[in-house]
């Protein structure tokens, strides 16, 4: 973007919003918004402490396990749905339903089924991420060039080889797009799980800071969370660009 003939660096809008935040905070309009400078000072003081690192590792573990399950189950299921009309007819209504369902409302049910521990949090995370991953893998497979499938078949590929040598790679650009959106949804899932199921990890920190009106702490943790989610999502976007050279020519 250019302004008055000057080329603005990437993300310069963030600087503007940071300024607005600082001004609103300094004006002391509401306790809910402390000045950004105060939040950043709090951030540096909080970030190395034992409770913070413990929360980070708890959240990271649940997040990683939940995303891994969503990817490992979601991608094959999506590919199978794209390949087989029967499986597609059977599963598609459910996938669409869960994609738009208010999953938060299901969390109490998960607590009854799987208890109050880590397991329920991981399952919540998976449930937030998996549906869009399935749908994107399915969409990726549906647009595969027919003759690529015929090629694999005519050169003697068995179904398993066709699966991981052709379908997976041909659908990879869409699959990565789905994983990227799924990961962003999983961030929501893991925090909601940690707030509702058992108060651990970042969920516990949010709960603690909000209940004690420690808004600077609250925002500091939120910034850390945003930064983590943003990095993961940008990394996946980078992978997507790596395969985009063939996305147009399949």
């Amino acid at each position: 973007m250019t302004l008055f003939g000057y080329r603005l660096p990437a993300m310069s809008s963030l600087i503007l919003w940071a300024l607005v935040w600082e001004i609103v905070g300094q004006l002391d309009l509401t306790f809910f918004v402390p000045p950004l400078s105060e939040v950043l000072v709090t951030l540096t003081s909080v970030i190395g402490t034992a409770p913070f690192l413990k929360a980070l590792s708890e959240t990271a573990q649940a997040f990683a396990a939940g995303v891994a399950a969503a990817v490992l189950i979601g991608i094959p299921v999506g590919i199978l749905m794209g390949k087989s009309r029967l499986i597609d007819e059977l599963l598609l209504p459910w996938v669409n339903m869960f994609l738009s369902a208010p999953l938060t409302a299901l969390v109490p049910v998960l607590m009854v089924l799987f208890g109050f521990g880590m397991k329920s949090i991981i399952i919540t995370t998976t449930l937030f991420a998996i549906w869009i991953i399935i749908l994107n893998a399915r969409a990726g497979v549906l647009q595969i060039n027919r003759s690529l499938v015929e090629m694999a078949h005519s050169y003697g590929a068995n179904p398993l080889q066709a699966f991981y040598k052709i379908y997976f790679w041909a659908a990879l650009p869409e699959i990565l797009g789905g994983v990227r959106i799924g990961v962003i949804r999983a961030v929501k899932g893991v925090i909601i799980g940690q707030l509702l199921i058992s108060i651990v990890g970042f969920g516990a920190l949010f709960e603690l800071y909000a209940n004690n009106f420690l808004m600077a702490h609250f925002w500091a943790v939120l910034i850390v969370l945003f930064a983590l989610a943003f990095s993961v999502s940008e990394f996946l976007a980078y992978l997507e660009r790596r395969v985009s050279y063939y996305a147009a020519s399949r």
């Binding site: 003759s147 690529l148 015929e150 005519s154 050169y155 003697g156 790679w169 990879l172 395969v243």
Partner: protein, 268 residues
């Protein structure tokens, strides 16, 4: 050498057991209500190039895919080397109209893909692939990706892939229709060389009359809806002539004209 065409014709009728690599017997195929092929029978002599020629929608690609084992006929059967076809097999290799290359794999892996599926060790299959990449004139492009190549070069990759599995029968589905005219002519010359030097049977689908007459030992003209063989033409004489002169040879022009005469009524 008096009247060699007739001599050739006598040979065919004299030897009904002549060596055919592929035989189609009363093959019928319907898509829902549409009858694509009706009781089509055709023989493909070993070591020769047979063209399937006809207007679009005449089922020539359907027949080719049935021979490849990619489609199942409703009735009738295909024999390759005397054995009935039940599915794709290592005795046949397919060259696709739209090349069907894996865009995420480089030329070397694309060409070696048939051998990769058969579980041939990496070093061995890459050696074979490199040999055929050089043979189709793409040496130096082993590490290139399909999107970096021109249409003609991509089809050379498709051809090298089909050659590297060393199948007896090469099935080519309008292989040159997606490349430009100059490249196409070069391809046709290369194909003639290939038929001469590789001991393989070629089945070649095309909708170009000139192309069929130029490259074929035998041309089967298919008429559409439902498709059947209306005529078999063997331009035997042309095969002994210099490739540079075929296109102005009177016999070549006569055959092109007569095929056009029988097809023109089917072109709307």
């Amino acid at each position: 050498m008096v009247m060699p065409q007739i001599k050739e014709a006598v040979n065919v009728t004299d030897m009904p057991q002549s060596d055919n690599a592929v035989v189609a017997r009363k093959v019928s195929k319907t898509y829902g209500d549409v009858e694509a092929l009706r009781e089509l029978s055709l023989e493909f002599p070993r070591g020769q190039l047979t063209s399937l020629l006809g207007p679009s929608g005449c089922g020539k690609t359907t027949l080719l895919k049935i021979i490849a084992g990619l489609l199942k006929p409703n009735s009738g059967e295909i024999e390759v080397n005397g054995k009935p076809v039940t599915g794709p097999g290592p005795d046949r290799a397919f060259v696709f109209q739209d090349f069907a290359l894996m865009p995420w794999a480089n030329v070397l892996r694309n060409v070696a893909f048939g051998l990769e599926l058969r579980g041939v060790a990496k070093s061995e299959r890459e050696a074979v692939a490199e040999k055929y990449i050089a043979e189709v004139g793409l040496a130096g492009f082993e590490k290139s990706y399909p999107h970096q190549l021109s249409g003609g070069m991509r089809q050379r990759v498709g051809l090298a892939r089909a050659l590297s599995v060393d199948a007896d029968v090469l099935l080519m589905d309008e292989p040159f229709s997606a490349v430009d005219e100059q490249t196409r002519r070069k391809f046709q010359e290369d194909l003639l060389n290939l038929v001469q030097h590789e001991n393989k049977t070629f089945i070649f689908v095309t909708h170009s009359i000139e192309e069929a007459v130029y490259v074929s030992d035998q041309i089967a003209i298919l008429l559409p809806r439902p498709s059947r063989v209306s005529e078999i033409i063997r331009p035997t004489d042309l095969r002994h002539k210099n490739v540079d002169n075929i296109r102005r040879d009177p016999e070549y022009l006569d055959i092109v004209d007569s095929i056009w005469a029988s097809l023109r009524s089917y072109v709307e």
